[in-house]
């Protein structure tokens, strides 16, 4: 999923978004003193790098002049220059390491904070955020975007500053030494820079095409591999292979084109540095043929030329890093700045030990303002009743229980539990009143016991075992090598039905006064379901419970069946009375007995 998004995203060129970068800087402002310190260190390191060649020049001077002196090279001078250089290099080492250390530390702490904030945010967002955003998108923010920020930004921030220092410093030193050679060096380097920039844009085109090809290929093989049975039975193999080969050929072409261009970029940089070396030598010698320390000047310029090309390429690199980082931080802050659930710390009413009367009073609701789904839903549910909600897909069954749980806020009307509006108590309080079991079984990495206890406190093994017994899993779990302490993993290979049994057991452990079952037994076979239902009946005795199921055998025993279509109750009553009515419910139910 994330891979897919990535390939789509890279097709477009990411723009540098200064606002997003600004937010990032504000976010990490607590580290500002350290960042400034790191920048100072970076500049210091650059200065060390710049004055190095100047000392090399002096060293070369004293060596070359030694050729003509009878006493040879003045070793005192050599030692002096050498030691100076050693000190400069050592200081450079310390400064640049200190800078790396500080920036690395800041980066890690910042990305940790980002991850923590995102994880907190996920728990504080209203549920409709998750309806409109895919899981892959949010996940890619946690993993990819935070990583991109930490990797690109830490390097490029420090790089950029030291590059600027290096850039300015090298220009100053070159002009101080010789303006003609300086102009040649700068000119040739610039030329090379422009050339590689041109190649880079060209190769970018092929890289993007390559990414698109890869996306296509991924899509195709995912289709073919997952639908292997269909391809095989319906004889589509040859056809699919042709499509694959077509994409494969495109990929081949874009692959080698993008590769040769990036190779050319690298080689043209070497070529340019060779050319500038040659020019420095030839021009240098013709200009300085009488100067004793010509060689020193030339050697120092060769180092300058190398140093000069460094900031140029790191400018280009920082630019693209900043682009990536700004795009990533835009996505991160987009998530972090989403509206959160309304704060409820001022609510003082607490519902406890409830009896279980539930009233839906003219409830209106739509996931978006334009499209209302529930149009004035009314129901008066007495304590201890077993309520079933049935109806075609999209009728709004799940929406009704979602509103009851206050996963969404209703647009108008009211829902009351024991006469208290659920708006007047906190969401946490509402959640505490309910055991909710959903169709999508959600189990996490951990032991069976951990999954059943979840966040409940002080639960004995006895309670856990009783719940397992009740859902009919005790035989299965006793066959596992570590019983309830067995870790859930892919290799355990639980069937969908077994997972549903576990989530029901989890609800039994929580033991709340109200119960919601949303297609909770849809994957359990009907004989096992009866075992669970008997256990449930024990559990639900005296408790108000809400059951949604499209398998009618699941809900036949309900006290009240609400038949819902298009957000309205169109029929209600128990199984027998609804059959007598010969309406919508009876029609669906009786289609089981049509003889043909």
């Amino acid at each position: 999923m994330a891979g897919h998004l990535g390939t789509q995203g890279s097709g477009k060129k990411e723009k540098l978004d200064l606002k997003a970068l600004g937010k990032l800087i504000v976010y990490s402002k607590r580290y500002l003193p350290f960042i400034i310190l790191a920048l100072i260190l970076a500049i210091g390191g650059a200065v060390c790098t710049i004055i190095g060649p100047d000392k090399i020049k002096d060293l070369t001077g004293s060596i070359t002049s030694g050729i003509f002196l009878p006493g040879g090279v003045n070793m005192d001078d050599v030692i002096r220059y050498g030691v100076t250089l050693i000190i400069i290099y050592a200081v450079g080492l310390i400064l640049s390491y200190a800078q790396n250390f500080i920036m690395g530390t800041i980066t890690q702490y910042t990305s940790k904070r980002l991850r923590t904030d995102i994880s907190r945010k996920i728990n504080a967002l209203p549920l409709n955020y998750f309806d409109t955003t895919t899981k892959g998108d949010i996940l890619s923010v946690v993993s990819n975007d935070v990583d991109t920020i930490s990797q690109t930004l830490s390097m490029s921030m420090a790089d950029l500053i030291s590059s600027i220092a290096l850039f300015v410093g090298v220009i100053v030193m070159m002009f101080k030494n010789d303006w003609a050679l300086a102009l040649i060096t700068i000119g040739v380097s610039m030329l090379g820079f422009v050339a590689s920039a041109i190649i880079a844009t060209k190769s970018q085109k092929f890289f993007n095409k390559k990414q698109q090809d890869l996306g296509k290929m991924n899509g195709h093989i995912e289709d073919v591999y997952t639908n292997h049975k269909i391809v095989s039975v319906f004889g589509g193999r040859k056809k699919e292979t042709e499509v694959f080969e077509h994409i494969n050929d495109d990929l081949f072409a874009d692959n080698w084109k993008s590769q040769i261009l990036s190779g050319m970029m690298l080689h043209s940089m070497t070529f340019v540095s060779n050319i500038s070396n040659i020019l420095i030598f030839t021009v240098g010698i013709s200009m300085y043929n009488t100067n004793v320390n010509a060689l020193g000047i030339i050697m120092s310029f060769i180092i300058y030329a190398r140093l000069f090309s460094q900031p140029l390429s790191s400018f280009a690199q920082s630019m693209s890093s900043f682009q990536q980082a700004s795009a990533a931080s835009k996505r991160v802050f987009n998530l972090l700045e989403q509206d959160e659930l309304i704060d409820e710390s001022n609510k003082t009413i607490v519902l406890e030990n409830i009896k279980g009367d539930v009233i839906f009073d003219n409830v209106h609701f739509g996931y978006s303002k334009e499209k209302e789904i529930i149009h004035g839903f009314n129901a008066n549910i007495k304590r201890g009743q077993k309520i079933a909600i049935v109806g075609p897909t999209g009728a709004g069954k799940t929406t009704i229980v979602n509103l009851l749980m206050r996963f969404y806020e209703i647009d108008s009307g009211d829902i009351k539990i024991d006469g208290t509006s659920i708006k007047d108590i906190t969401r946490e309080n509402v959640h505490d009143l309910f055991d909710m079991i959903l169709q999508d079984t959600w189990l996490f990495e951990g032991t069976i016991k951990e999954n059943l206890i979840f966040n409940c406190q002080n639960i004995s093994d006895e309670v856990v075992n009783k719940a397992i017994e009740a859902v009919g899993l005790s035989h299965f779990i006793s066959t596992l090598p570590e019983g309830i302490d067995t870790k859930l993993s892919d290799s355990l290979n639980l069937s969908e039905g077994q997972k549903q049994q576990l989530t029901i057991a989890r609800a039994m452990v929580k033991d709340s006064p109200l119960l919601i079952l949303d297609e909770a037994t849809s994957s359990v076979d009907t004989r096992t379901e009866i075992i669970i239902q008997n256990a449930m009946d024990e559990l639900t005795k005296g408790r108000t419970s809400f059951i949604i199921a499209h398998r009618l055998s699941t809900i036949k025993n309900a006290d009240v069946i609400l038949v819902v279509n298009n957000g309205d109750i169109i029929e209600q009553g128990n199984h027998e009375s609804l059959l007598k009515k010969k309406g919508f419910y009876a029609d669906i139910y009786n289609s089981q007995f049509v003889t043909m």
């Binding site: 080492l93 292997h228 190779g263 039905g497």
Partner: protein
């Protein structure tokens, strides 16, 4: 690793040879340049008037070398990119072909996501190894040896200085990698962990809120976050020393060459010899840089190598697997009527010792509707998997019109059997191409419409583009019930003698379920139909019903017969309907 390069084609090998030639040329030219620098230095250090024209001649030669080296390098880049891209294309084709020949057993063993990564990412790793590594692998040793040969004659002190510096660079890098590598592996694992925890939080958001377990989940996330940060901090601090240390080594190399030059000059008395030292010094500086470069290149290979090794192993695993099911090439030449017979079939899944099916025997007459019912996991799907040979029986026989399925060609099996699988799956494309899926792209529109009406897919009429409506990857733009109906339509479109519906009706509501079955009954008269189901209502009208419990047949007959004689069937029925409704 070496084994995977057997996938090189003749052309690739020829290109590799060309690359070697070009690289030798490039290295020769690169190493020629310092010689001219030496000449230039000689001119410079020579006393008296300088011969300027000679400077330009030398400069010209150097320029020619630079241009030549550049051309050789670009040509190498061309050939190596061809090799890398072609190699990866070959690997992908072979993988795809191989995987297409797999049966379910092999696919399930590798799992689909893993096969996808093997076809794409792992191949990309190999391509990167060749693209970046091959040149380096050829060039680095040539360059290093050649350059060392060139400098070794000049002075032992210089040579040993170079070797010492390179040695210490390697030691630094080695130590840093040795310290960080285990941590990197750990970080990789922790990153997966972190992603899992985040995924868990998002996919379980409703459950977590229903249980007020936000803090519980956050604590789990934070403990991984803490650990990953601790490890990241450690590696970033250690890795942060790498570049400064390498810079120090390079600087130290230059300085020591100069310093040694000073000592060497003082050991010589004559002016020409002394000048010679300076000439050597300039040349040596350049040569030594080349040697250092060569070692850096080798280092890069060692960075890519571990991942490429893993990838090549993963690719070979797929390529070395022999498909467990092989079809006879020749058609048997039977005119099929659609009779199916199982004779004492036993079956266990590969790598599993537990028998999945035990002694299954039954016979479906042409045109009959045959239903299979039983609890989840009892082996219903395993039975029908044996008909189109997704798996082969462990013992016993599966016969179609009296012929063992193992003797039928792939083509004949394809023609005779149609299937709607348990999990409805759609291809990216449009509705038309999904329903009319087959060996080629010609789709009969009338037949598509017929098939859609049989499967009660009236929702298509509400779509703007009708049967030309787009189907997204994985069919995500359709609901479960809609996908199921399209999948039924596809099975019907094919007009095979045998049509299998594997639990295809359970996602439909009772009424649609009934209507679809009624349509099939009325419109498809000359095909044998096998229905796997959980609901009694779905199968009560079948000609024969087989009840499976724990992989064994516990009942076979009509609805009425089974109610009387089969206890399991009666239990299932009573769990869904009342006594009087049966």
């Amino acid at each position: 690793m070496i084994k995977i390069f057997k996938n090189f084609q003749k052309k690739d090998i020829f290109f590799v040879l060309i690359c070697i030639g070009l690289i030798v040329l490039e290295v020769w030219l690169d190493l020629l340049m310092p010689d001219y620098t030496k000449n230039l230095t000689a001119i410079l250090t020579a006393p008296g008037e300088k011969n300027i024209s000679e400077v330009w001649v030398n400069g010209g030669h150097m320029f020619a070398c630079a241009v030549g080296s550049f051309c050789a390098a670009v040509a190498t880049a061309f050939f190596s990119s061809q090799i890398a891209a072609n190699f990866s294309r070959t690997l992908r084709t072979r993988l795809f072909d191989k995987i297409e020949s797999f049966s379910d057993a092999e696919i399930n063993r590798f799992t689909v996501p893993s096969l996808i990564t093997r076809t794409t990412n792992d191949v990309a790793q190999m391509q990167m190894l060749i693209a970046m590594g091959m040149q380096a692998m050829i060039k680095a040793p040539i360059l290093a040896i050649w350059a060392i040969c060139k400098i070794s004659g000049t002075s032992i002190m210089w040579t040993s200085a170079v070797l010492i510096i390179i040695g210490s660079m390697l030691v630094f890098i080695g130590i840093i990698i040795a310290i960080c590598y285990p941590k990197f592996k750990k970080i990789q694992r922790l990153t997966d962990d972190l992603n899992n925890k985040a995924r868990e939080n998002i996919s379980g958001v409703r459950v977590i809120r229903a249980y007020n377990a936000e803090d519980y989940q956050r604590n789990k996330f934070e403990s991984v976050n803490d650990e990953i940060t601790r490890n990241n901090l450690f590696t970033s601090r250690v890795m942060g020393s790498l570049m400064p240390l390498l810079t120090l080594c390079m600087n130290a190399l230059t300085l020591s060459i100069y310093w040694i030059a000073a000592i060497l000059i003082n050991n010589k008395s004559g002016m020409p010899e002394r000048a010679q030292v300076v000439e050597d010094m300039t040349a040596f500086t350049q040569y030594s840089m080349q040697v250092v470069m060569a070692f850096m290149m080798l280092l890069m290979i060692f960075i890519i190598m571990p991942r490429a090794l893993v990838s090549s192993k993963r690719i070979n695993e797929v390529l070395d697997t022999t498909p467990s099911i092989v079809y006879p090439k020749e058609d048997k030449g039977v005119s099929f009527k659609g009779e199916i017979e199982f004779k004492n079939v036993d079956f266990n899944y590969p790598d599993s010792k537990v028998a999945c099916l035990k002694n299954i025997s039954f016979k479906v007459k042409p045109g009959e509707t045959f239903a299979i019912i039983g609890a989840t996991g009892c082996g219903k799907t395993s039975i029908i998997n044996l008909i189109p040979r997704f798996y082969d029986v462990t013992s016993g026989e599966v016969l179609i019109d009296g012929v063992n399925v193992k003797d039928l060609s792939k083509n004949e099996l394809e023609k005779t059997i149609s299937l709607a699988p348990q999990k409805a799956i759609l291809f990216k494309g449009d509705i038309k191409s999904n329903v009319g899926y087959g060996p080629n792209n010609d789709v009969d529109i009338d037949r598509v419409n017929d098939a859609l009406s049989i499967s009660e897919s009236s929702f298509i009429k509400d779509l703007e583009k009708g049967i030309d409506s787009e189907v997204a990857q994985g069919g995500t733009n359709f609901s479960g019930g809609q996908k199921q109906r399209l999948s039924i339509a596809r099975a019907v479109y094919k007009k095979s003698k045998i049509i299998i519906f594997d639990d295809s009706f359970s996602a439909l509501d009772y009424k649609t379920d009934m209507l679809v079955r009624k349509n099939i009954k009325e419109k498809i008269t000359d095909s044998s139909i096998i229905i796997v189901a959980q609901r009694i209502g779905t199968i009560r009208n079948a000609d024969q019903i087989m009840v499976i419990d724990n992989g064994q047949v516990v009942g076979l007959g009509t609805h009425k017969e089974l109610l009387n004689k089969c206890k399991v069937y009666k239990e299932i029925a009573l769990s869904q309907l009342k006594e009087e409704e049966l």
